[in-house]
Symmetry: C2
Subunit: 424 residues, 2 copies
């Protein structure tokens, strides 16, 4: 039988190029991978987690509650503590409670699930999602599988190019396509992959623009703020989220996670959801799994409540600061001056740019030769959405300092530097 009876969604779900990279990495034990978005192993909170588990299992009553089903929205204590944490991070005044109401908070199985639920909640096949250029490639896989189109908005050093956002919206208005535009997806802290952090002014400006076009869209165009890397800042001051912009409260979807800043093996993410979307997204979550593992949620609730989460962050941040510095130093030493990058202030990545005309893409000499020397990076081209209105650059490399040891980072950049020096 030729057909396997797959749905449209299944047939649209193409194997993401990153899974090929991961297979390559697994097949070569000697490989140094600067590709994966894995976090640092040595700073995982082993002692903290053990202490939390000891607390939970010290009382049969608590243990039972952790080992039983919870509710679809998530554990009440975790939702309250998460909302408080966000409000504190945003330095929000007392009268801003509505924006940080725990009732608007949905706990998910990692923030990836939140992005999936949100896409299902808002988008029909043929709809259009505005994305940063470049952007998070697994989000692009979600969009692709749901039959959605992208319009890309270039990034400046402090976030979206608002002029281009406006002209894109204007063009969508002229072509009658605005009703198909449901959201703008942004990664506002140490963006994956570019490392760019969005200023509050840019968030406000983007929201202001989106709202100007709502009348023609005939529905809200939501501003999705993916803050996955927010707590991984190791330099400079935190920036308030778009939730702090009181005028736009019901247009912001804030997506956060405890996985990356605490433990990726404990998959707990969350979303602060505009009230009009909350019933629908909760029902969809109910159909997915009627609620995230209660044990994981109670672990995180205790991590927040005991301040272990808060105490763990500086440890983690110091570690990444060190690893980022090691990578930056190696890049300065090993790479020719024509290759440019920004010194990171947080997150997991350095985004390195070759001079125009050179390629670091999947099929490039640089990528192949690096692989021959057992060095893997993410070719930047994988982070560009399909968008026929512009040509995606192939000159970039996403280099992760998250998972590899300092020694491996040094060795890895040395190997890559030799290849790059030879071809640039």
């Amino acid at each position: 039988m030729k057909s396997h009876g797959l749905s449209e969604l299944a047939r649209r779900s193409i194997d993401p190029p990153i899974s090929w990279l991961m297979k390559v990495a697994l097949a070569r034990p000697e490989l140094i991978s600067l590709a994966a978005g894995f976090t640092d192993d040595l700073s995982l909170p082993i002692d903290e987690t053990r202490a939390i588990l000891d607390e939970i299992f010290a009382s049969p009553k608590q243990a039972r509650a952790a080992l039983q089903y919870g509710s679809t929205l998530g554990d009440g204590t975790l939702r309250r503590l998460t909302a408080e944490w966000l409000r504190e991070q945003d330095g929000a005044p007392g009268n801003s409670a509505g924006a940080y109401d725990p009732d608007r908070l949905l706990i998910t199985h990692g923030s990836q699930q939140l992005l999936y639920l949100l896409t299902e909640c808002l988008c029909d096949p043929g709809d259009i999602v505005l994305v940063e250029d470049p952007t998070y490639f697994v989000f692009l896989s979600i969009l692709q599988s749901h039959g959605l189109a992208c319009r890309t908005i270039p990034l400046e050093s402090d976030g979206l190019d608002l002029g281009r956002l406006e002209s894109t919206l204007e063009s969508l208005k002229r072509s009658g396509d605005l009703p198909r535009v449901k959201m703008l997806y942004t990664i506002t802290y140490f963006q994956n992959p570019s490392g760019v952090t969005t200023s509050l002014q840019k968030k406000s400006g983007a929201l202001f623009l989106l709202r100007q076009f709502e009348r023609d869209a005939r529905h809200p165009i939501y501003f999705v703020e993916d803050a996955a890397y927010r707590d991984l800042r190791f330099e400079g001051k935190d920036i308030a989220s778009a939730l702090s912009l009181a005028a736009h409260r019901n247009r912001v979807v804030y997506s956060g996670t405890f996985s990356k800043p605490f433990a990726t093996g404990i998959r707990v993410g969350y979303g602060l959801i505009p009230r009009p979307l909350l019933p629908a997204i909760t029902r969809i979550k109910g159909n997915h799994d009627f609620g995230t593992s209660n044990l994981l949620q109670q672990m995180l609730a205790r991590a927040l409540d005991s301040c272990r989460y808060r105490a763990h962050l500086p440890v983690l941040q110091q570690r990444y600061r060190k690893k980022a510095a090691v990578m930056a130093k190696a890049l300065r030493e090993q790479f020719p001056d024509e290759v440019t990058w920004q010194e990171p202030k947080g997150g997991l990545y350095i985004w390195a740019r070759l001079p125009a005309g050179r390629s670091a893409g999947m099929k490039s000499d640089i990528f192949k030769r690096a692989l021959d020397r057992d060095l893997l990076y993410v070719p930047g081209e994988l982070c560009y959405a399909p968008d026929p209105t512009r040509r995606a650059p192939k000159t970039e490399m996403r280099l992760s300092f998250g998972s590899a040891s300092e020694e491996k980072i040094r060795q890895g950049i040395e190997r890559l530097g030799a290849v790059v020096r030879d071809r640039v």
Copy 2:
């Protein structure tokens, strides 16, 4: 703005009636709920779980592996042990390895997620799913949200009415609708809600029938075996799954879970997937969450490997045997003879039938009066798929002995009995 920009899927996702029941239950602390599918609190494996966690955290290396990301398919050890466990349960001979190949196993965030992924993988809006009548109501919510239609197949005491399955397939063939039929969804052990267990002959017969119609469907029609309650048998001998039917290996999707038989707070389910579906369903899982929490998976792997899982089952089974007996005794004492039910041999539910013409539905006197007396059950009508070709009975009640204590079960049936005696 009138529209919130919701997708078709979101607009089709109606609030399941069960969530109303749950809100009712939460708002009445005095309420005895025989409605929830929660499991028994007192037999949760607290000591076993603590011991497993101690083992994991005894070594930093193991702890790190548990606290880090894993792969999308799931932990290799857990997949191997799960496959071995299934093969042993099925008493499968040595040459049947292919059917139980760990490579075909996908670990999910509870088996509910497997059902969701499978629906996404196979069905487009307008497609038709064959379901048992009655069936699991949260699965019906998944179908509803995806815009799918149902055809219902009545249950006999040993599973599907194969005559009706055949005539339904014939009728779909005549109307040209067979290409829209992708799967038959069955709950083969202590069915939720009816308690019926499907014989191996019936599984084989159903598969045989489905295959006869594949040529006209122009694709496989998959037999989905949801075995969520299999390990909750407390009477009689286990029955082999459809995986044991070597001829139909690539037509069976087997959905299992460790949540109900071990701990519902540790959400780990799994699917044994026909090879042609595996790449697509894995990609969709990747888009959902790129893999189930590694910590939970490693806990289950240790529970299986150490035989703690196996040793826990008789404890659990004895507990449910006792609670089922308490409920059955109370029903015999409190209910009039006109109300019928089967003595359960496993699972969590007794399915009680009033005489024809009486109603135990959401709007019935019996339901309302029971609620006035702080007693909640699941009205059977909620378990019937929308199917215009038959009228769904309202005469049934799903009574769960899973969560309530023996004392509460006795009191609950006493309260309900008084209402039923009064109205039958």
